[in-house]
């Protein structure tokens, strides 16, 4: 049995029924990580620590006190602070930063018995949609285009290392973070399930911050059941995060029921779909049919503020980022320049040297929109448009239970065909950013393959704290799509 072919829930079953040990499972993934170094999915690998964790997990399994994630090897996006293990957030700025504490989300996973194989690659400070702004080199998807298998395909971003690692079976699942689509888009590009939960469901304490009113942690997994299990382990109230919601976390996996789709009202927003290319339109219509056959009713809804979501996001996110990244001043931690001079020279050169081009660009945008004379015209206006976007969704959810959309406009592009215009890169997030602005949960499910053999995903959006409903409908889509049958052997 090739242990790396198991899904998270299958592996959990295998461990609980003693078909394999956590040590064997971990060793199998360490081997897979070795074979696939070229994909550059990990920034820091921790095989020795992982084997120690696996040993301890095997003891707990033997004693019958297994946690939710006991003995299951996962990847951890490199913006979750890992105590004693370097945490870079994909940046030179934090190249040698070793946190003295563990983020709440990674702590939750570890205390449920998870085995952490390493810190996965990501766009620098989570700013990007293709994992090409990382200071540690791009991450490459294991997927190949049928028309040109030599092309390197991007795994999406900013959680590109996580999506590449899971798709290439270098871990069972991985954590990601989503500020404008950074879990869902890489999931869609790599044929995985990715959920961004409701804002506040997971704690942001110990996550390297990008945009504080938008960031959320979530899992990237092979299946919906895996996602349900892992989200339950990650989520939960944390007093250390003042924006964390004090709500009980349901047993998502136990209550997972595709049959609940019967009678669900699914909304389709014309503004999302009227300009899709033929391939995406066909897939979207297929998704609608699958849900209809499963017993859902389909309703048109209007989200008229949709065209304004991206520019709104590209005011608010950089503004918040410019504030969050002001802490990187070369004084207390992170990169400090060797160039001498005044304190201002210290700040200016440390930041110039430590930050990459995209990060500097977004800090400039953010600083500009918050500066005197422009604050009202940009930042205040964007926050008001944000209220309009939220109101649009609130109105839609009075008529429907969930909304179905594509996750991305198209399949993953090749590394050497990437957009050179920043705005064109930003357009990758067109279907995902609205959800972060409104603070709502959304899940991407792999639904089919493009004409060139690359994964395409469909997204379901729900009202606040509707994760169970999302998982149920996503399961119905997954059952119909039968995507797992279409995944080729990437090692071949």
């Amino acid at each position: 049995m090739d242990l790396t072919q198991l899904t998270l829930t299958e592996a959990r079953e295998a461990l609980l029924t003693k078909k394999c040990s956590a040590a064997e499972l971990t060793q199998a993934f360490i081997g897979q990580m070795e074979k696939n170094r070229a994909l550059n999915a990990y920034i820091t690998q921790t095989p020795d620590q992982a084997l120690e964790q696996a040993k301890a997990a095997d003891k707990r399994l033997a004693h019958g006190n297994a946690g939710l994630m006991e003995g299951l090897p996962i990847g951890m996006k490199d913006l979750f602070c890992s105590k004693g293990i370097r945490t870079t957030s994909g940046s030179r700025m934090l190249e040698n930063f070793v946190p003295s504490y563990e983020s709440t989300v990674s702590h939750n996973l570890l205390s449920q018995g998870a085995v952490v194989l390493g810190k996965t690659n990501m766009d620098e400070f989570a700013m990007g949609s293709a994992n090409i702004t990382s200071a540690y080199g791009p991450s490459i998807s294991p997927w190949k285009r049928t028309d040109n298998p030599a092309k390197q395909i991007v795994p999406g971003g900013s959680s590109g290392g996580s999506s590449a690692a899971v798709a290439a079976r270098m871990c069972l699942a991985a954590t990601g973070s989503d500020t404008g689509g950074s879990i869902r888009q890489p999931a869609s590009f790599c044929g995985l399930v990715g959920i961004k939960p409701t804002y506040g469901l997971c704690s942001r304490w110990g996550m390297v911050a990008f945009a504080s009113s938008l960031d959320q942690a979530g899992p990237l997994t092979h299946t919906v059941a895996d996602s349900a299990l892992m989200l339950q382990a990650m989520a939960g109230y944390d007093a250390k995060d003042a924006t964390c919601a004090n709500v009980p976390i349901p047993d998502y996996l136990k209550d997972l029921n595709a049959g609940a789709v019967k009678g669900m009202r699914i909304g389709i927003a014309l503004e999302y779909i009227d300009r899709l290319n033929d391939e995406m339109k066909a897939l979207f219509n297929q998704g609608v049919e699958w849900l209809r056959s499963a017993g859902a009713t389909i309703h048109e809804v209007s989200l008229s503020t949709t065209p304004y979501a991206l520019p709104t996001y590209y005011i608010i996110a950089p503004a918040e980022a410019s504030s969050n990244l002001a802490r990187y001043d070369g004084v207390r931690y992170g990169h400090r320049t060797d160039r001498g001079g005044s304190i201002d020279a210290l700040y200016e050169h440390s930041r110039r040297e430590g930050f990459g081009e995209e990060v500097r660009r977004r800090i400039m945008i953010g600083t500009y929109v918050l500066s005197a004379g422009y604050y009202d015209a940009y930042y205040t206006r964007a926050q008001k448009v944000r209220r309009l976007i939220k109101a649009d969704f609130n109105r839609a959810f009075e008529e429907v239970d969930l909304i179905l959309t594509p996750t991305t406009p198209a399949e993953a592009f090749a590394l050497d065909e990437r957009p050179t215009d920043p705005i064109e890169m930003y357009l990758n997030d067109i279907f995902t950013v609205t959800v972060n602005l409104a603070g709502l949960p959304a899940i991407s499910v792999p639904a089919g393959l493009s004409g060139r053999g690359l994964p395409l995903g469909l997204q379901l959006i729900g009202p606040k704290f509707s994760e169970q409903t999302l998982f149920n409908a996503a399961k119905a889509l997954e059952d119909s799509a039968n995507f797992r049958e279409k995944v080729p052997n990437h090692d071949a």
Binding site: A239, T312, G334, M364, R387, D421, P422
Partner: protein, 128 residues
């Protein structure tokens, strides 16, 4: 300026893959109202952000930011009067008791310091 707005349409991004929806957004430009960001604006913003810019980088930053802001400017067309601003995610803030709790140690904090002496961070002289 027009070259800037046409750039995405001429990019090497394969046309079959091009997200068609952005074409509509480009057409939403009010072409008569391009905003201008001057070189001194760029220098001022770089200063505020404490980001060093080489002299030759200023004009590239200027054209990039102007392109982005001309795209963002489509938000000016929306009616927003009468919208009140509440907190962004309708969060209810929970207070905690004002009690000292164990947090970290000086040693742990200074472990990541670029330069430290006498249990403090060392920096260039600030006060003249």
């Amino acid at each position: 300026m027009l070259e800037r707005s046409c750039a995405p349409l001429l990019s090497p991004y394969p046309s079959r893959q091009k997200p068609v929806i952005y074409a509509t957004m480009m057409l939403n430009f009010r072409g008569f109202n391009f905003m201008v960001i001057s070189q001194s604006d760029i220098e001022k913003v770089a200063r505020l952000a404490r980001l060093h810019l080489e002299a030759q980088e200023v004009s590239k930053a200027q054209s990039e930011l102007m392109g982005i802001f001309n795209w963002i400017d489509q938000l000016q067309a929306i009616e927003v009067s009468g919208i009140e601003l509440h907190n962004a995610q309708d969060i209810i803030m929970h207070e905690r008791p004002d009690v000292v709790e164990p947090d970290t140690t000086v040693k742990a904090v200074l472990a990541n310091a670029p330069q430290a002496q006498h249990d403090m961070f060392t920096v260039p002289k600030v006060v003249e």
